[in-house]
């Protein structure tokens, strides 16, 4: 019964879930042999991993919006950093709105550039990333900012409610909004339509520019929310804090079965993808795998999963 249900799930998600189980089993075997414990299966460890996954998950959720359109947002690293810096610099009760406002502005710039100037998003957002970096260096003078996160930010990032990390609630909240948008509203349908064939969507009377801009704004807002949480987690903002999030976010989206060329994908997939990546990184580091080996395994897992999906696609089509 359970097995038949499992087989009904979307193929990429099925594979990703399988890999997650495999990672946990490998890790547990390792800890059983070396320490005689099953640390990887303890609720504390798993919840902690979910908390870490929330940050990546938020970024990936936003990234998914633009990937569904067939675009990409490479300005993520400095959007995260910029939002964190804006929030800590503002401080007080306006800290979080200030961080989100930074994201909103960056999203608008990205969206307008892609929708109106028709610059390929890969180039435009890469440029925007560098520009924000420059602005932030000017702003901080190249030093780590001395400002600190507010208590609310810290509670959101590190606090627990009923034993569950608050960050997870934030991710769940944002995620449910996105799922509602994608599956229940015209906007969601338009995103998929544009990702599949922008000309046909335009000729169906869809305001494609507005959809593009809105999606880039959503992406940057998600990234800035992640930045705010990260600042709360480490109590301060620092240069390069977002650098570790760009590629894992793209990988999470794609591992979750979203077509990198747009038009197809599910939020559940992205969630599973984010968890897979966080677990993989964590288990590999606990197993004291040297950095080089970790990178090799990390990359191999991503490539092999994509190969598996690619093959499936062709057979079905």
């Amino acid at each position: 019964m359970l097995i038949t249900k499992f087989l009904l799930i979307d193929k990429p998600i099925r594979y990703a879930l399988g890999i997650i189980v495999l990672i946990l089993l490998t890790g547990t075997t390792y800890t059983l042999v070396t320490q005689g414990t099953m640390a990887f299966l303890s609720p504390t460890y798993l919840l902690q991993q979910l908390q870490v996954a929330s940050f990546l998950g938020l970024v990936a959720t936003g990234m998914m919006m633009v990937i569904l359109l067939g675009h990409i947002d490479l300005s993520i690293p400095w959007t995260v950093t910029c939002a964190a810096m804006a929030a800590t610099a503002m401080g007080g009760e306006w800290a979080i709105p200030a961080g989100l406002a930074a994201g909103l502005i960056i999203g608008l710039v990205n969206g307008l550039g892609v929708a109106f100037l028709r610059v390929p998003s890969m180039i435009f957002t890469l440029g925007v990333n560098t520009v924000i970096q420059g602005l932030m260096v000017v702003y901080t003078g190249g030093f780590a900012p001395q400002t600190h996160s507010t208590p609310i930010m810290e509670t959101l990032a590190t606090g627990h409610l009923l034993g569950i990390p608050n960050a997870l609630f934030v991710w769940a909240f944002v995620g449910s909004l996105i799922v509602f948008m994608l599956t229940r509203t015209a906007m969601g349908r338009y995103i998929f339509a544009i990702g599949n064939r922008e000309v046909a969507a335009y000729l169906s009377g869809i305001n494609t520019r507005l959809v593009l801009i809105a999606s880039f704004v959503m992406c940057s807002l998600c990234a800035s929310m992640a930045g705010i949480l990260l600042a709360g987690y480490s109590t301060k903002a620092y240069q390069g804090m977002g650098d570790l999030y760009l590629l894992p976010a793209i990988a999470a989206v794609v591992i979750g079965g979203t077509n990198i060329l747009g038009g197809k994908g599910t939020f559940t997939g992205t969630v599973v993808g984010a968890i897979l990546i966080v677990l993989l990184q964590s288990v590999l580091s606990v197993m004291q795998m040297p950095e080089a080996g970790r990178q090799v395994i990390y990359g191999t897992v991503i490539i092999s999963m994509l190969l598996v999906y690619g093959r499936g696609e062709k057979k079905e089509g």
């Binding site: 229940r184 509203t185 349908r189 000309v199």
Partner: protein, 535 residues
Amino acid sequence: MLAQKNRVPTETQTSKVVLQLKGIGKRYGGVKALNNVDFKCSQGSIHAILGENGAGKSTLIKIISGVIQASEGTVEISGQAVKFANPTQAVKQGVVCIFQELSLLPDLSVADNICITDPPRNRFGLIDKSAQIRLATQLLAQVNCADINPRELVRDLPLSRRQMVEIAKALGRKPKLLILDEATSALSAADVEKVYEILKKLRSDGLTMLYISHRMHEIEELADTLSVFRNGQHIETFSKGSRNNDEIIQMMIGRDVTSVFPAKPIAKTIKPTVLKIENLSWSNQLKNVSLSLKEGEIIGLGGLDGQGQHEILLALFGVLKGYQGKIIINGNETLFTSPKQAKSEAISIALIPEDRKTQGLMLPMGIDDNISIASLKRLSKGLMINKNKETQNVNEMIEKMSIKVGAASNPVSSLSGGNQQKVVIAKWLMTQAKIILLDDPTRGIDVGTKQELYQLFRELADKGHSIILYSTDYDELIGCCDRVSILYQGSIIKELAGDDLNETNIIASSLNMALEKDQVKRMNKRNENNREVSL
């Protein structure tokens, strides 16, 4: 001319068999696309293959040209059994195919494209550019297109010229058997004429051709032998003239045909004008075009391809930016800015675009999603789409258009061409648009579906919709439209209605008479012949 006539094989003449199929079958899962097909094709003949979409023509072609392999049966070329694993092997044996979708690379030059599979090489093994250009020039001359510069990028050529390049490319592979799959569906009348000449010349040179087209008069003009396919089976092969049109069509669709076009209403009460265009100009493509459209009227846009017909439709759909002149909707002058505005309630215009695959549909998405995409605003309550209402509306449309679907959520790409076009039309009928612009809506669609669409257009007009129809098929303009405006170089040069609306007049105006009198004369003669045949 005489020489060509002599070459037409008769029943008694036994010519060399170039291609023979024995018991060919092809299965896709449980579906039989082809079933026990026996077929042969003799040298120096233009052999037409007829059948509705889904009759198995494309599968047959793909098997012969090595794109796919038959599940059973044997293929013989010049008496030798062959098994092609891929198209390259087929080309080596002299089987060359020109597919419906152009296979040219737009960013390479004409010469590069023509020589793409086997470019001439110099002694270092590098591509010899000048030899390549010589070869291309020679092949282009062979297809009477010496005016195409082989250095030009394919991107810069109009669709019709690209098709000629495609033919030149095929000839470059020295074919024994040339397969043309809907090769003229993108061509305008004058270009089709050119293609005829070339094909006839090639036939007299002894080349064998398999010709697939949905245009009956083309087949009558060109083919000497016809084979009809239906539901994956070879129904009959006969020589031209031994069956009349009605018999052929009946063979293709397996049922009686009453009349291809629905009757036009005879007496018309004066209806209000819903759309008026005054002195519309745009770039170099449109010059002072004026048109008016009444409620319940179907007007046609005719002329050679690329004379501004698309631009008129695009301007009326808000795609063209910066046009000059007035467009008046229901008495109000309106500035068109976007398709979104054009479909709004105040204007209520729909456009069925030229290319359904790239402009009309999101192919991987569901049939239901495609049908409802333009009407989501009406189907939503606040932010949320009312899914029940959506499903209900979509199902009504599927039923109304009799779209053959397995499930409404299947991807549109799983449908045949005719059904895909019905999905595009259903999408716009769902918006309840008052004015419907049709940009060559029956291109590449089978006879049965065409007929259904003609009925539908007339029904819509009777219900008070107004339609502008652009078509490359004259019969369609004559059969469907109340009036036809002929465009020439961006201007309307003639409006035809009533008895004046006939093929001779359309062709004469399309070519602007004075230009190529000889051609007109020849075409008229051909049309008269055609009419005799169809009578």
